[in-house]
């Protein structure tokens, strides 16, 4: 995809995963099933958005230090609006001014929040992956990626524990909660496989090849599903495209809402 500056793409990919899921979860703010859980899911949002900030700030500083040739190779990922600003690239430009096809997040992060069962199940399936990914990246030869991963891993440990408990609570709960989480599982399962299909930018030595994380992820999912009384689906077919910028119809709406202010009032601060 980009043989000149794959680390820039990789950093954006990690950042986009965190930002898009953070924004999606934030839709629960003021709408959670009970106050404590409203606070929990928005705390998870906050952690994810914080991780995204660190990653976007790193991507921006990397870009600003690039040679002309390297800069040229990132052209496709740069926000058009920013080019008119005539200043260095900043973290907010990458979050608030890139277009849908420039986002490299996996599709599972952009799916609608659905009901509570969908939200906690998606969080669990993604956190179980993100935990493996950050753990492996904590020893990345790229010092900045390693530092961000080490920091984020501690936060994701809490997300994983919280969401796993909810999967068990709903799977092993009432007839209705079980029915709902089973339906969510049917809907979401085909979006899990994409996490483990390595894009080219995930094959550098700074990265972790996600296909190597699949078995550990499956073990964790099986362990929690066993307690929840859920069956790990056998189907292996996966929806994909996110890492290439080809998204579901849901991402555009999410971005429209999230980016509205910066697009209407460029460089607004408050």
């Amino acid at each position: 995809m980009n043989p000149v500056s794959p680390l820039f793409y990789y950093t954006l990919h990690l950042a986009d995963n965190a930002l898009v899921l953070g924004q999606r979860n934030a839709e629960w703010c003021g709408h959670g099933p009970v106050l404590e859980q409203d606070i929990a899911i928005t705390n998870i949002s906050l952690d994810l958005i914080g991780q995204a900030r660190n990653l976007y700030a790193y991507a921006a500083s990397m870009y600003n230090g690039f040679s002309e040739k390297e800069k040229e190779s990132c052209e496709k990922q740069l926000p058009r609006t920013w080019k008119a600003f005539g200043r260095a690239l900043e973290e907010d430009d990458l979050a608030f001014l890139r277009e849908e096809r420039q986002f490299l997040n996996v599709l599972i992060t952009e799916l609608p929040k659905g009901d509570w069962s969908m939200t906690v199940l998606r969080q669990f399936l993604f956190s179980a992956f993100q935990w493996q990914q950050y753990r492996a990246l904590s020893s990345s030869p790229d010092a900045e990626i390693a530092a961000i991963a080490e920091k984020s891993l501690k936060e994701v440990s809490y997300h994983l524990r919280w969401s796993a408990e909810w999967v068990i609570r709903l799977g092993d709960g009432t007839e209705e909660s079980r029915e709902r989480i089973e339906r969510s599982l049917q809907d979401i399962w085909m979006f899990t496989g994409e996490m483990f299909q390595a894009a080219e930018f995930e094959l550098g030595e700074y990265a972790v090849d996600p296909s190597t994380l699949k078995q550990d992820w499956r073990d964790k999912v099986s362990e929690v599903f066993l307690e929840a009384g859920l069956t790990v689906p056998a189907a292996d077919w996966a929806q994909s495209g996110g890492k290439k910028g080809v998204h579901t119809e849901y991402l555009g709406y999410l971005l429209a809402e999230m980016q509205y202010l910066q697009r209407t009032f460029p460089n607004a601060t408050w």
């Binding site: 929990a40 705390n43 530092a147 080490e150 501690k154 809490y158 929690v224």
Partner: protein, 173 residues
Amino acid sequence: MSTTSNDISTEEKIIWTILEEVKDPEVPVLSVVDLGIIRKVEVNDEQSPSSVKVTITPTYSGCPAMDVINMDIRLKLLEKGYKKIQIEQVLSPAWTTDWMTEEGKRKLKEFGIAPPNPKQQFCKEEMFAEEIVECPRCGSQNTRLVSLFGSTACKSMYQCKDCQEAFDYFKCH
């Protein structure tokens, strides 16, 4: 001229003392020094005026208090007459509640927030595991976890089964 905490110049000691006046905006009894987020203080007095560099590490990636803390440190140093101030953020090694000072833990408890348990002995990541957290009001250990996440990223919610009070626990991290 860079020095580590083992070899602190008089000027650096002064800065550390000044930083004790900068409080966490969310938990105003705690100073940034109590929190353990100040990693290094360097003073270069070969230049005139001398320049100060403070290295800090965030508690949580998304903690909104960090931006305020950065600004408060800068303002406090300006107030004390320092003009060339640089604040740098480092992420590694990642902050842990084990860096909180004993004095900080005492102040937290007095404020009504249960201080973090030592990470190695007590911090639990297994599902449904509950740490024993002492009620900051009545001292009972008969408490229950209400929610893993609380009013700020660094806290979870507990309730004391003896005095029935709900309280924040500064969770170990």
